[in-house]
């Protein structure tokens, strides 16, 4: 058990996943990506979505400013990153909910569901992007 040796009241701490201590694996990378997409969506997508709704509600002028900003290349990067994050977080979230019922917890199943989830997340994002482009 790893402990903080300088602490007067040593408590167990989690193993460090970042750095040379732990080999990167599909399982840990997918888990970290789930948290990163969650943080990204909380910090960027959620506020942009609220501001988009506000701009729409306030009228055509503010809506035009918002759609204009989203049409710039940084805006488009934001939209694509948000779309991918949403699809990924959705698919990995479903995987986590299945685990919470006690299913699919064998190592082989975890790797298989991981790859299936990645393929589904990319496919969903690409399909939504293609549908949006075809519609506009």
């Amino acid at each position: 058990m790893t402990t903080v040796s300088t602490n007067s009241d040593p408590r167990p701490i989690s193993p460090y996943l970042i750095g040379p201590y732990y080999r990167p694996q599909l399982t840990s990378m997918l888990s970290i990506a789930s948290r990163l997409t969650g943080v990204f969506m909380t910090a960027v997508l959620a506020p942009v979505m609220a501001l988009w709704l506000l701009a729409l509600a306030l009228g055509p002028d503010s809506y035009a400013v918002m759609t204009g900003l989203l049409a710039t290349w940084p805006g488009q990067v934001l939209v694509i990153a948000s779309l991918f994050s949403l699809c990924y977080h959705l698919m990995n979230g479903i995987r986590h909910l299945i685990w919470d019922t006690g299913r699919m917890l064998e190592i082989r199943q975890i790797y298989t569901s991981g790859w299936i989830m990645v393929v589904l997340a990319f496919s969903l994002a690409l399909w939504v992007w293609w549908s949006a482009g075809a519609g506009s």
Binding site: S14, V39, L56, S131
Partner: protein, 130 residues
């Protein structure tokens, strides 16, 4: 006991001012919000496809429709709750010292609540056609 440990129950016993309630309730509500967000997220993706490149009148009409306004309200409500609940767990795992951890958790809660208030105001205005 297994559930409490999974829910960060052990972490929560280390006197974190922002999170001194039980971890099981937090764990459960995180799962409930995840489950509810599955259909709501599919609706958001569908709406996103409809609204890509839409003119103001078109977008206002879609979100002004009572059914879609309700979906948007549900999505923003559950999503902002889920967001602050997820950030809380990440803060509990990585942020130190405890006062800074509590401050970040509360800041996230206030910001998410503000995000929901702004969204609800906008959706209400669109639904009432104001």
């Amino acid at each position: 006991m297994g559930l409490v440990e999974c829910g960060g129950g052990i972490m929560n016993q280390t006197s974190h001012a922002a999170t001194h309630h039980g971890g099981l309730g937090h764990w459960l509500w995180q799962r409930v919000s995840s489950l509810v967000l599955i259909p709501l997220t599919l609706w958001v993706l569908w709406a996103g496809v409809q609204l890509a490149g839409a003119e103001h009148a078109e977008a206002a009409a879609l979100l002004g429709h009572p059914g879609h306004a309700l979906m948007a309200l549900l999505f923003t409500g559950v999503m902002f709750f889920h967001a602050q609940s997820g950030i809380q767990v990440i803060c509990e795992d990585y942020v130190y010292p405890p006062w800074f951890q509590s401050a970040l958790i509360w800041l996230t809660r206030v910001a998410c609540f503000a995000g929901f208030v702004v969204s609800a105001f906008a959706i209400g205005r669109l639904a009432l056609g104001a």
